[in-house]
Amino acid sequence: MIFSLKEDGIMEIHKIPGWNDTPTLAHAQKDMECISVLSEGKMYPHLCYLPDVVISREMREFYASHEPVSAATALIVKSSFQRILGNFFLGMNKVKVPVKLFGDETEARQWLSKYKTDVVSPRPLSVFAE
């Protein structure tokens, strides 16, 4: 995945273009490490473009038991696959941090702006994990 901390204080998360492997627990762990490195102890709002992937039970368990890493998460879903995955993240995060599914990116950014911290990142940063 690609993690980019933008100047507006929102962390964007995309799939690496052309990457079509089945993700594993090691990928999930690496993703969390990347978020941690990029966040430097702060909780940013996340804008996540969910990929069309099947994630295993051990990955779901890892995500569900992980401490929150965002102030809020907007999940962009376009396909039925992404909707299923998105609903899993909605269910697991019920009481931890606000999570919402969006079909439209502008609406998602508007919603996330409520959860921005007053700290503005000095420059965009990106980290990749495969």
Binding site: D52, V54, R60, S79, S80, F81, Q82, I84, F88
Partner: protein, 290 residues
């Protein structure tokens, strides 16, 4: 996806749901990632659901095993503690008798002996309570017709005291239920009301009504009441309210009541506020022979 492939997929999904309905959560569908194919997304969702249910079943079994081991452990330990405690109680009694015959016993020593004796008695009550509590799950409760009014009148007679007034609403129903369980529940609830009531006259009111296929009984008192912050905790084992002077509790009675009520298919709840008394409500499902 062609019609025949779609039909094949639907059959696989149906087969998996049928297996899940039979509590078989071991089957999985080989999902192909086609973002625009709703059937594949459904297959993915059903896979996820089945995996979660399977995991829940395994976790529930594991917790059930742990509970059973803990209750076995509690039973064995309590049972083993009884003998040395009997010995201590016997020795304290001998010591008290010996000292009573002696003329050189200071009031302080007598007071300390009384304290030891009271502590031993309290420990016995706790051990008996733990033994009773840990046996509850392993018992089956044979049912028969029982007259709730007759049983309650007998319980009230046993609790008769000058400063206690127990009012029983009549008529009370006949129940297809385990008589001993009913007596244990009521006895514990009445004891609880009496224990905490420090008024000159402790008033307890027992009522019944039928509602939605259930018998609902209530035991109300004019005691000090219970702060709502303790309502959720009060039925837990070894939890008792912050002590008031002269009130000792093992924290087993209400836990036993809850376990008895729930193991016979009922529910228990409490309504109370400080200074306004307490009402315990519990239900018994209406059932008939056969």
């Amino acid at each position: 996806m062609t019609q025949s492939l779609e039909n094949k997929r639907l059959e696989e999904i149906l087969e998996m749901i049928t297996a899940m309905a039979a509590l078989d959560f071991s089957k999985r569908i080989d999902v192909k990632v086609h973002p625009d194919d709703p059937l594949e997304a459904i297959a993915y969702g059903v896979n996820m659901l089945s995996e979660e249910l399977q995991n829940n079943v395994i976790e529930r079994r594991r917790l059930s095993d742990i509970n059973r081991h803990l209750e076995d452990f509690a039973y064995t330990t309590s049972h083993d503690l009884k003998s040395p405690l009997h010995a201590v109680q016997g020795l304290v009694t001998i010591l008290k008798n010996e000292l009573e015959e002696s003329e050189e016993v200071s009031p302080e020593i007598s007071r300390l002996l009384e304290m030891i004796s009271a502590s031993v008695l309290k420990m016995r009550e706790m051990i008996d309570g733990i033994l009773e509590y840990s046996r509850l799950d392993t018992q089956s409760y044979p049912v028969s017709w029982m007259d709730a009014e007759k049983e309650l009148k007998e319980i009230i007679e046993l609790h008769a005291k000058q400063n206690v007034k127990i009012i029983l609403d009549t008529p009370m129903p006949a129940l297809w239920f385990n008589r001993i369980v009913f007596i244990q529940i009521m006895d514990n609830l009445i004891n609880n009301s009496m224990k905490y009531c420090k008024k000159n006259l402790c008033e307890i009111h027992i009522a019944h009504h039928s509602e939605g296929g259930e018998h609902s009984f209530s035991v109300s008192d004019n005691g000090p009441g219970i702060d709502p912050v303790f309502h959720a905790k009060i039925f837990e084992l070894f939890v008792s309210l912050p002590h008031q002077e002269g009130m000792e509790s093992t924290g087993i009675g209400l836990a036993t009541v809850k376990k008895l009520v729930e193991s016979t298919g009922g529910k228990i709840r409490l309504e109370s506020a400080p200074g306004k008394g307490a009402t315990f409500y519990f239900t018994i499902p209406v059932s008939l022979p056969g």
